[in-house]
């Protein structure tokens, strides 16, 4: 109690103090992602978003906690379930929504869509659509920091499905062999599409998957943003210290199906409800903040209305944008113009 009084209003969590403004920031960021994803789901239903669309409702504490623990200069990459991560990273939400809608002002000019969000200005390297593909790429970012000795850490995120790819273990081996500054984060939402962890993994304690590479593992509650943020800080500090990579297993849950086309019939209603109502990361933080006297339920209701309004405005602004110019089809294939040889149209000259 005395610590709180000394440092102003906030919440003390095992020696780490979260002040009032940080708590609001964490809360607002999670709630924004939740409402943004709901809006994306709605737009998908209206057929305004096409293709594959993987929402992260329920996993917001992981997105927000790890972003808050990392430095802006740290590198980050993830799989195709990327909206929450890029939003938490601070990318303009209108550019993210415009990308979902395939518009000119999308974060990758309408060329990537839901699965391929990139923002180099935020050191966010995708948005990768092949399960596990981002892990060797993350290895390369970590290698670059070792090569340049630039003090950056790479946070390489995968799911409990991705961790079964062989490329992950090739990467674990080299990361540990060369002591590269990488935090591998497994978002264990317990289902790889429709396959439960138990049906896919001989060792379900995923944080142990680095043991044969001498990579230490941490298992963290990914539904409690303060707990996750705090432990993620330790993981990042470990990687930054030069001691090599570390593996973090974030226990979490996705409320929606794997993608928009997945009704998720492989889970029971009771199981989903248990996570949704019993462990929801947003409700949990709200409860903690109310208990600490930092906000009232009415404050959160008002905040929710404000955020919903902001998301609607973002969707509207994104929808008002034109589709990409037809000439964009030919750009960004090669860096420099290719004389005579490209684009090869097959036209008879």
């Amino acid at each position: 109690m005395s610590a709180q009084q000394n440092q102003g209003a906030g919440i003390m969590r095992e020696g780490v103090f979260y002040d009032e403004s940080t708590l609001h920031q964490l809360h607002d960021s999670m709630l924004y992602i939740r409402r943004f994803e709901e809006k994306a789901g709605q737009m998908y239903g209206l057929k305004k978003i096409g293709g594959f669309c993987h929402l992260c409702n329920g996993q917001e504490a992981v997105c927000v906690g790890l972003q808050h623990a990392a430095e802006a200069t740290d590198y980050m990459m993830t799989s195709y379930r990327d909206h929450g991560h890029i939003l938490a990273r601070g990318t303009d939400p209108t550019a993210v929504m415009a990308e979902l809608l395939g518009r000119a002002g999308g974060i990758v000019k309408g060329k990537g869509g839901s699965m391929h969000m990139f923002d180099i200005s935020k050191n966010f390297a995708g948005g990768n659509g092949i399960v596990g593909e981002q892990v060797p790429i993350g290895l390369g970012f970590g290698f670059s920091s070792w090569y340049r000795d630039d003090g950056r850490v790479t946070i390489c995120i995968m799911g409990d499905g991705g961790i079964n790819q062989g490329a992950v273990y090739e990467s674990f081996n080299m990361a540990a062999l060369w002591k590269l500054p990488i935090v591998f984060v497994v978002e264990n939402n317990q289902y790889a599409m429709g396959t439960s962890l138990e049906r896919a993994s001989a060792e379900t304690q995923l944080f142990k998957r680095g043991i044969s590479f001498k990579i230490p593992g941490m298992k963290i509650d990914g539904m409690d943003v303060l707990e996750f943020e705090k432990q993620m800080r330790e993981a990042i500090a470990h990687a930054r210290s030069g001691e090599g990579p570390i593996l973090v297993e974030a226990m979490t849950y996705r409320y929606r199906g794997h993608s928009m086309s997945d009704p998720a019939t492989y889970r029971t209603r009771a199981e989903v409800d248990e996570w949704r109502t019993g462990r929801d990361p947003i409700a949990r933080l709200q409860g903690q903040m109310v208990e600490a006297g930092l906000a009232t339920e009415d404050d959160f209701k008002q905040k929710d209305r404000d955020i919903k309004k902001a998301v609607v405005a973002v969707a509207k602004a994104a929808e008002a944008q034109p589709e990409p110019d037809a000439a964009e089809m030919w750009t960004d294939v090669y860096s420099d113009p290719i004389e005579g040889g490209y684009p090869y149209s097959g036209k008879v000259s």
Binding site: A125, L139, F141, F143, E170, N173, M174, S335
Partner: protein, 325 residues
Amino acid sequence: MKITYREALNQAMCEEMARDDRVFLMGEEVAEYNGAYKVSQGMLEKFGSKRVIDTPITELGFAGLGVGAAMTGLRPIIEFMTWNFAILALDQIVNAAAKMQYMSGGQYKVPMVFRGAGGSAARVGAQHSQSLENWLANVPGLKVVMPSCPADAKGLLKASIRDNDPVVFIENEINYGDVGTVPEGEYIIPLGKADIKRAGKDVTIVAHSRMTGFALAAAVELAKQGIDAEIIDPRTIRPLDETTILRSVAKTNRVVTVEEGWRFAGIGAEISARIMEKGFDDLDGPVIRVTGKEVPMAYAANLEAMTLPSVADIVEAARVACGKA
């Protein structure tokens, strides 16, 4: 200066690494062993273990490492001991390296070289003898380069290392010991430029990599028979210098393509189609393709020789093209 194909590659890498500290070499046995084919001989000593790096046997992993490092602005040279093993790394080459710039709306570039020996070696069987250039040249975002002689090996590799996009650089194991004259010092051959290896007026023979030497040998035999062959080596498969090929066809009106790889959707098929589309009126007859036989490579010496194109096959094809068979 007369040096080997392998030394030319070594010079190219050493010069580029001395010039640009963002360039590094990584692969299996490249450092302490001095390269499985000795292409990286002496490089560890010259540049140290931070820039010449031995990897575990883990092609997909270190290919992806190269992609990530290139995305941060480094310029990796990723060596595959042979391209046969790069099949394990195709996800990173095709789905990541080739598409990253496009998928990221131009934000992330991938300036890197994937290099190693391709084509058939000698008596190593099916899994170690194949040509993948048509697979890779099919992918927008990649460039595919295949030198046929020491001078081209040096000039093209230097250009590839300086290129801002991912380059697939396919060497030939049997050519590593070939000796040729290589200009000293800064010698760069722009990508996408074919080379007329022999001028002639009767038939155009388009051949790349090891088959260029076969075509040149065939031209000697054809000359004895009164057929003057023009030999064109595209050197870069993608982008393909169709201008040089079409210009030659306009002169000779007859074409033979030669490649080690399989016939179906091969490089000859692409060249034939382009000539049909853009040079149809210049043709006096159909383009004739000399290719590897469509079977996996056998071990037995006689079967191996029969599977690959021979000088005699090229001579015969040129005679057919010229209506003299």
